[in-house]
Amino acid sequence: MYDLYLKLFTYLSLPKWLGIVSWPVIPFIGIAALMVLMVLFLVLLERKFLALLTIRKGPNRVGPYGLFQTVADAIKLLFKEDIIPTNTEKILFSIAPVVFFFPVMAVYGLIPFAHNWVAINASCGLILMLAISSVSILGLLSAGWASNNKYSILGAMRSVAQAISYELPLVLSALGIVVLSGTMNLNKIALGQENIFGWYIFPSFLGFIIFLICTLAELNRVPFDLPEAESELVSGYNTEYSGMKFALFFLAEYAALFVYSALIVTLFLGGYSSPFGGYIFGFLPYLKKIIFLEQAFWLMSKTFGIILLIMWTRATLPRLRADQLMSFSWKFLLPLSFLNLLFVALLKYFIG
């Protein structure tokens, strides 16, 4: 593929170095396209699924079954006026959505969608992913601060406090997986769980539950949606935002939902590997070359299972109180995640 790409440049009589420089960019273009399409689909899915669970119909006006609702919304957001209120920190106000959006997009490059189909195959992918995704908190805080609005700053402060306190159990339960698999490379972690009995959810079930809860908190989703609690703060840190900047926040939130679900799947549910051990495409000689399609299918189906689970909890659970949120993390989840880590380590030491 690489040679073919370079040949294309010589064929078009363009300088060769341009091809060499632009080659690593291609996966990121693919990732960006995937992300935007995924978000458009996820928003529609969420609205339809929530409507199903709450005995409503959901969007059904734009296009057949309301399929183009999110497209229409996106176009509306793109053409909206970009308002910057007076008395805001103008530079910080403009940078904040980008700071919030960039880490989520970068994290997409670390998820293995099929065997070795990963944009950045870092040997410490897991730690890198957790580290990069926590940068987006900075975007939230600057958005809240720059808005010069009490609701925004309250939402941002809550969000930062929540994200920092839930980061610890999240990382500790992810550490259990590192102990089990002996590697931090997400590709190798997925390879280590070849069939359904090898999934890491079974030795570290507690870790899975903790990771799921912490993911909900990191994503600011119900029941941990205090940063944007509509009934308390108008809409949290993005109260003052409109148009494209608001769209960036919106995009990043749903993109993060997908990427965190994919991370859960990679860590606990076997990632792109098939639950039956072998691949159907592997048995057929002609289809062996496109085995990555089946692997991507498994990853996507598991990921959407997790996403639907998260939406299901959104339809069910009420919002927590701020002090309950904090004490739940520090007094309950943190000791539990230590316990989980100890259990997993002992399991690995004695059973292997």
Partner: protein, 157 residues
């Protein structure tokens, strides 16, 4: 011990809630898609004011002007009439400016001949303010509609 009890009760509560919500997924939606489908309302609904009519299509109004006197919005209701040779009252003009009507129902209560009634019609959106001045033809219900409304109202008494 107390601690474990608390945790288990919490888990059971969440499980029950999730089950309940999952059951909802298999129910048909209760949404009424309004402009196409309209709900049936009870006759007690205080829709806009309408005129009842007799079997022959004439109004029951005798031009006593009780409704004009009792109306809190002063000059909403405008009535003009003349008497024919038998001494019967014939209404020439009966108009209500529904744009300013507060739908208090005083005129309906005071009407000695039950000529006014609160109908089930609630759709009053118009592009022009003057379109909201309803003349007698817009206000008058047919005999069947009147009977239906009165019958439904009597059921609730």
């Amino acid at each position: 011990m107390e601690f474990i009890k608390k945790i288990t009760s919490g888990i059971i509560a969440i499980k029950n809630g999730m089950e309940m919500i999952a059951k909802h997924a298999f129910r048909p939606a209760i949404t009424v898609e309004y402009p196409e489908v309209k709900d049936e309302f009870n006759a007690r609904l205080r829709g806009h004011i309408a005129l009842t009519s007799n079997e022959d299509g004439s109004s029951k109004c005798i031009d006593c002007k009780s409704c004009v006197r009792v109306c809190p919005c002063s000059d909403l209701i405008k009535i003009k009439s003349h008497k024919d040779s038998d001494g019967q009252v014939i209404i020439d003009r009966f108009s209500i400016d529904l744009g300013r009507c507060i739908v208090c129902g005083n005129c309906v209560d005071i009407c000695p001949k039950n000529a006014l009634i609160m109908s089930n019609n609630y759709e009053l959106a118009k592009y022009n303010k003057n379109d909201l001045i309803f003349e007698i033809d817009d206000l008058k219900l047919s005999y069947e509609e009147t009977q239906h409304l009165l019958k439904e109202l009597e059921k609730d008494l």
